[in-house]
């Protein structure tokens, strides 16, 4: 329990360091802003349209699939640590678990859910 205190201290020190750096830079930075400097950068031409474009659905798919496989990895961690005590039963169980997820993964590949419109 006591080992977690340095992590908390490190978090506070890290946030403090970032805060101090940003705070100090606010004071010593010259500010000569003009209207042109404030406009969003678009390679020198006038910006066209708003920056709040619609996000493509592909990113949402990637995030959902990431959640699924991340949870699989999270189940693999305690199994890996306790592996030697679990014997054959634990091994077969985990192989079956991964096989079920593998079926889902093969379905994913077959439905081409992760094809990013490669220029062919």
């Amino acid at each position: 329990m006591r080992e977690y205190l340095p992590v908390l201290m490190f978090i506070i020190v890290g946030i403090g360091f970032a805060g101090v750096t940003l705070g100090v830079s606010q004071f010593i930075v010259p500010r000569r802003s003009t209207a042109k400097k404030m406009a969003p950068y678009e390679c020198g031409v006038e910006p066209v349209g708003t920056a709040r474009q619609r996000v493509e659905i592909k990113f949402y798919l990637v995030a959902v699939l990431f959640i699924l496989f991340d949870i699989e990895a999270v189940f693999l961690y305690p199994w890996a640590v306790a592996f030697r005590r679990l014997g054959l039963y634990g091994l077969i169980e985990m192989v079956l678990f991964v096989a079920v997820l593998l079926v889902g993964y093969l379905y994913l590949l077959q439905k081409k859910a992760l094809d990013w419109n490669s220029p062919s």
């Binding site: 977690y4 996000v55 949402y60 995030a63 990431f66 959640i67 999270v74 305690p78």
Partner: protein, 73 residues
Amino acid sequence: MIPALFIGFSLLLLVSGLMVVLHKSPVTSAMFLVVAFCALAGIYILLHAEFIGMVQVIVYAGAIMVLFLFVIM
């Protein structure tokens, strides 16, 4: 020491939870929810459930909130 930490984490959790509901911009609400989950992870660690605390950050704050952000943005 541990009661003080518990009170600190709980206050952080409550305040960020409130800000999730009260703030106007959805992206800032999502970020407050991330702070709430990190405070919750701290409470899990205080309960000697360190694995669950880390998994809370990895899965909830790191994966599910990224999904939320992708949808909200």
